[in-house]
């Protein structure tokens, strides 16, 4: 059914249709609307049987999910940013134990400086945790990926994180085709756990493992990610057949035929990038886009296939590894090993900085002319940087950087456009 609906509400609708039995979360912007809506459904009895638990921290939220999942319940939670970091020990633990928890990550920057707006630093911080990480481009995508997430998680016994851009998606009202309960039921069978706390068959879950077997247990987690790699296109195919629209999968090419420059990105920024590419194509610039849906497991082969015809690749990403550079672009470069296709990184949209089509177009044209450097920070205000660097060079006690830059930004703002 087509509805004009907020992204968070759409996710809450489909999550409820997936019949989670335990939902436990701790509020943090921009995830709040999701859990509020699911909580309402549980309280009203619309979603039953389901236990909705208000806890005292994200660490507890993930821990409750771990307990619930280990006791055989379908468990769901949602968080963002600082919340994800607060629960990080349990995030790794859930994956290590192989518990198929599904979590929405309403992507948001990580402080300090504290910032509630969107970027992908939170998701990237846990990329090695063992979770499957899927990125939604639109709210339709976000809704559809959640349904697939439960299927995937339970089939490979791994937790799945559905990443959706905070505010840009979570708070955007747009048209979403929501499935019916029966459609979801026939796609998503009840959860049958691989391991469960069952008094009639006692097992120990979470035993200590020493050097004699640790590597093997870890390797098996990798194997399950590789199984997910096989399953992702299968589930996406089945989903398309079942619901009548494509969603999920590894990568999504857009106007890549004949493209000399292919832009790679994840999440909602793909919309802006596609618009920019359309405009550039009209002017004769051979640019295409490859959107990544599955970041973990990383679809190296699919990327290689999708990018093999390009002369160069530009990775636009909303996070970076401080002291190094791009995160996603490193993975992309790995996928292209041996193809001698240069990969440039464009870091954009940190802490909610708007990613403007105009700025992207300039970068893509630079790339097309072979002028784009290895690492570019989109719309970085060099004046502010220089001012703070000068201040730091000038005196030891230059003060807190964030406050300095903020003050400068406000005072210099009128003179800039």
């Amino acid at each position: 059914m087509l509805r004009q609906i907020e992204g968070s509400r759409a996710v809450a609708e489909v999550v409820s249709m997936c019949r989670p039995e335990v939902v436990c979360a701790y509020p943090i912007s921009p995830q709040t609307h999701i859990i509020e809506a699911v909580g309402r459904k549980v309280k009203s009895g619309e979603l039953a049987p389901c236990e909705f638990i208000n806890v005292e921290s994200e660490f507890a939220a993930m821990s409750v999910s771990i307990g619930a999942s280990a006791a055989g319940a379908r468990a769901y939670t949602a968080t963002a940013s600082q919340g994800l970091l607060f629960m990080i020990e349990a995030v790794f633990n859930a994956a290590g134990l192989g518990l198929p928890i599904v979590m929405t990550l309403a992507n948001r920057a990580i402080g300090a400086p504290i910032n509630i707006w969107n970027d992908h630093s939170d998701a990237m911080a846990v990329r090695d945790s063992g979770w499957v990480q899927l990125f939604a481009e639109t709210n339709q995508d976000a809704a559809d990926l959640h349904i697939q997430a439960f299927r995937l998680a339970e089939e490979v016994s791994l937790p799945v994180m559905v990443c959706m851009d905070g505010y840009v998606l979570t708070h955007a009202v747009e048209r979403v085709d929501l499935p019916g309960q029966q459609e979801v039921d026939s796609f998503l069978p009840p959860y049958v756990p691989r391991q469960v706390l069952d008094p009639s068959e006692p097992v120990s879950i979470g035993a200590m493992v020493g050097p004699e077997a640790f590597e093997e247990v870890r390797y098996l987690a990798h194997v399950r990610q590789l199984q997910a790699l096989e399953l992702i296109p299968e589930v996406a195919g089945e989903f398309a057949e079942h619901f009548g629209r494509p969603a999920g999968g590894f990568v999504r090419p857009y106007r890549t035929e004949g493209a000399e420059t292919i832009v790679v990105a994840m999440g909602s920024v793909l919309g802006t990038i596609k618009d920019t590419v359309d405009a550039l194509r009209e002017k004769g610039t051979a640019v295409g886009v490859l959107g990544i849906t599955s970041f973990r497991p990383f679809p190296g082969a699919a990327l290689r296939d999708g990018l093999a015809g390009a002369k160069r690749v530009v990775v636009v990403e909303k996070a970076f590894s401080i002291g190094f550079g791009g995160v996603l672009s490193t993975d992309v470069a790995m996928a292209l090993t041996g193809l001698s296709i240069p990969v440039s990184t464009v870091v954009a949209g940190l802490g909610g900085r708007p990613i403007m089509g105009k700025s992207l177009a300039a970068v893509f044209v630079d790339a097309d002319h072979g002028r784009l450097g290895e690492l570019t920070f989109l719309d970085l205000r060099k004046d502010l940087i220089d001012k703070e660097l000068a201040r730091m060079a000038d005196r030891r006690r230059s003060g807190p950087t964030a406050e300095n830059v903020l003050r400068d930004a406000q005072s210099v703002l009128p003179s800039l456009t």
């Binding site: 821990s63 307990g67 619930a68 280990a70 055989g72 319940a73 069952d198 097992v203 979470g206």
Partner: protein
């Protein structure tokens, strides 16, 4: 064995002997056991015997684990969980925090759990237990009971936030703290439950205030009570009947319940493995560890001290307090009687606050560690 006679005589109250299995119906049984609990058990009717003495006990934590000799935690866990298993009619799952208990019980082939058991992290056992309970409830399996457990560190320090949340929500979990008064698993470092004066690896017996400072630490049972949860109890591994009775009582209730169990650690305390039970007995008899029960924030029963002993009797058996006592060797230290005195004042304050001394009590043989007392509740047949 000759020591048994007066104990048994006292047990039956009249001085008359009873045959094994007899129970002195209608009168409080007060007796000191000597050597083993089996003797005491034989004086009670079958329904009142300890779970540990029954063939049907679960052995939740069975033999083969790698705890140190004389480990109070290993003993306490089996006692408590077997009693809980009986109360739950075998339908139970346990969530364990990281710590000695988890480490000594799981590595293959020493895996020793015979019940559904889950270990996640050091600081999250109460929340994980909440999740397990929620899952059973959602699945309509209210009959399966959930126990969470941790050492004192996992309870009063790193797990405190999750525990307080679990209490505050009144989640249907019995949480047991095995209090050995330090982080044992990582090599005996101080925790928020380490008593003043005690030497740990991070509160060495050096400087002007040797050992753990005074004026610090958390009184976890009282903090639990402040949450107004249905049931809070303290117990020691020295009093099996009392412990089992409290576990059973806790299991008869729903909502958040808390048992704080005192478990000596020979390795961390520098005590002889054979003194584990003696220490657990002395800590109560000197007043340093009050044994009591509380419901909804109110103390409902206290286990009286039968004959008060000075804290020194308890402290001297442990090398973690060695610096408090002088050496008789020429030129040896004089010790720190002032610190012993300060510890004594803590015991005295506990005794006053909870009315742990009751002059009307019978006098039994001195609690020198060779005998033992049932708590009054247990002794009164409220088993």
């Amino acid at each position: 064995m000759t020591d048994d006679a007066p104990a048994i005589a006292r047990a039956v109250g009249t001085g008359a002997r009873t045959t094994p299995g007899d129970s002195p119906v209608g009168q409080p049984v007060k007796f000191y056991q000597v050597g083993s609990f089996a003797a005491g058990n034989r004086l009670l009717d079958e329904a009142h015997r300890s779970v540990q003495s029954t063939l049907g006990r679960t052995n939740s934590l069975t033999s083969g684990h790698r705890a140190c000799q004389g480990c109070g935690e290993a003993l306490g866990a089996r006692y408590a969980l077997d009693a809980a298993m009986r109360a739950a009619q075998g339908r139970m799952a346990v969530v364990n925090a990281t710590g000695c208990l988890e480490v000594f019980s799981t590595p293959y082939p020493e895996t020793s759990w015979q019940i559904p058991w889950l270990h996640s992290l050091f600081g999250n056992a109460p929340a994980v237990a909440t999740g397990v309970a929620a899952a059973y409830r959602a699945k309509g399996r209210d009959d399966v009971r959930v126990v969470g457990q941790a050492g004192d560190g996992g309870t009063v320090d790193i797990g405190f936030g999750c525990l307080s949340g679990m209490f505050e929500r009144n989640d249907d979990v019995l949480f047991i703290c095995y209090d050995n008064e330090a982080y044992m698993n990582t090599g005996v470092q101080r925790s928020g439950a380490t008593p003043p004066g005690a030497r740990t690896a991070t509160t060495e017996a050096i400087g002007r205030e040797p050992g753990n400072p005074f004026g610090q630490g958390k009184d976890m049972p009282r903090l639990a009570m402040a949450h107004q949860i249905p049931y809070v109890a303290t117990a020691t591994v020295a009093e099996l009947h009392d412990l089992e009775a409290k576990v059973e009582k806790a299991m008869s209730l729903r909502g958040a319940r808390y048992i704080h169990l005192f478990v000596p650690c020979p390795l961390g305390w520098g005590s002889a493995p054979h003194d584990t039970i003696r220490l657990a007995r002395l800590v109560k008899e000197c007043g340093l560890f009050p044994v009591f029960e509380a419901e909804h924030g109110e103390v409902t029963s206290v286990s009286k001290i039968r004959r008060q002993v000075p804290v020194e009797d308890y402290l001297r058996l442990q090398t973690r307090y060695r610096h408090l006592f002088g050496s008789s060797e020429p030129g040896g230290s004089e010790g720190r009687p002032d610190i012993v005195e300060r510890i004594q004042r803590i015991a005295d304050a506990n005794i006053r606050r909870l009315g742990l001394l009751d002059e009307t009590l019978d006098e039994g043989p001195p609690p020198d560690g060779s005998g033992g007392g049932l708590s009054d509740r247990a002794a009164a047949g409220v088993l």
